[in-house]
Amino acid sequence: MLTKRIIPCLDIKDGRTVKGVNFKNLIDAGDPVELAALYSDQGADELVFLDISATAEKRKTFAELVNKIAQKINIPFTVGGGITSVEEARTLLLAGADKVSINSAAVRNPALITELSNAFGSQCVVVAIDAKQVDKEWVVHLVGGKEPTNLSLFDWGKQVVELGAGEILFTSMNNDGTKQGFANKALQKLSTLVNVPIIASGGAGSIQHFADTFLLGGADAALAASVFHFNEITLPNLKQELQAQGIAVRS
């Protein structure tokens, strides 16, 4: 049986792990290679590294970091943050990443999704969507949540899959940083509309929140950062509890 995945996410700035709360207030949370190895040993199913460095020079540092991570860890990982072309994606994949995640660039240039999918296969292409519920609508936002678009989460979600996305990483901006649980209603709706795996992101605060996103949100994977970085939830404990609730996880 295919198991539900638990994915610690490491935001990387200048080669270090940081975590934004509501996409602001960055706190240093350690060395990414060490942290990656630790999570891998503890039973993480996959890892995500998001580069939030702004400059081209720092991006080169990121590719070098990706290479170090690939050397050290033996579980799959996705990299993202500022990828705008097939060539940039290729550099990171050749450095050892398994998948690339694109976000703002996909909205600005939807053809990029297809180009990446044609070049590397759809299984390599994660489209990350940051959305915020405004009144009743889930509005897609860009640039780490700063810039609203006129796209709805659900329309955009369907569109990215048609264009070749192999996976959707949906972050609810309303939930992110709150530790009040994932946006399960929106996740559930999204999962009825698309036939690719969905990674739930934003809002993890307790073990029950993970259970809920699998049971109520229909998520295929759940991503979190600070609860893991600050040791509020440990992976072995989390998996044990999920198993006890009848959720299939890799033990």
């Binding site: 198991t3 050397q71 994949l93 050892g96 590397f120 192999g166 036939n195 295929d220």
Partner: protein, 196 residues
């Protein structure tokens, strides 16, 4: 010292396979040189991406003719394994015909790609020796090889498919041993210790 080569034909992410072997203390060379491949003790044939460009790249290098003639242990991984089959529904692409299996697209209710950790049911094979029941390995693929007499491990995702294949000296894994944690390392180690 045993010589291990990884066939380099432009397929993505072969460095992960190389790193996994490094973690086992083996320096594997990336090559598409025929002599280099023929003289190796072990050959790894990786791959991610689309069947057709991969096959074209093999043909351009003459590797499509070479690989089926190899007599040392050969391990195809993911698309590598699929290319070793007879035919793929991915763009109706003919394969190398080493395995009789055909490669099909998932068409059930399940989400595609099949991404994540799934368990394997094992048949007796030196590739999977010492692997316990209900072991979880990492998959990421949209096409699958049917089960048949060459199947040495089965996984269920909507339906049963071949998680691993073997015919004579040819082995194939649909999953990624290089990304399947300690268990994957064990499978790679098994492959490295198979006697010709």
């Amino acid at each position: 010292m045993s010589k291990v080569v990884i066939i380099d034909y432009g397929a993505g992410n072969i460095q992960s396979v190389q790193f996994a072997l490094e973690r086992l203390g083996v320096q594997a060379r990336l090559t598409h040189n025929k002599e280099d491949i023929l003289s190796a003790n072990k050959v790894i044939f990786p791959g991610v991406g689309h069947a057709t460009p991969a096959m074209k790249s093999l043909q351009a290098k003459g590797l499509d003719k070479l690989i089926p003639t190899l007599t040392q242990p050969v391990l195809g991984i993911c698309l590598g394994m699929q290319l070793m089959c007879s035919f793929s529904e991915e763009n109706n692409q003919n394969g190398l015909g080493i395995f009789g299996a055909t490669v099909k697209k998932f068409l059930g209710q399940e989400k595609v790609p099949h991404i994540g950790w799934n368990d394997i049911t094992l048949k007796k094979s030196n590739l999977l020796k010492g692997i316990k029941k209900n072991a979880y390995v990492y998959f990421v693929h949209s096409f699958y090889a049917e089960t048949g007499s060459e199947t040495i491990a089965i996984t269920n995702y909507g339906q049963n498919f071949s998680a691993a294949l073997q015919k004579n000296n040819f082995y194939g894994c649909q999953f990624h041993p290089e990304k399947s944690g300690e268990l994957g390392q064990k499978i790679l180690k098994n492959f490295l210790t198979i006697n010709k």
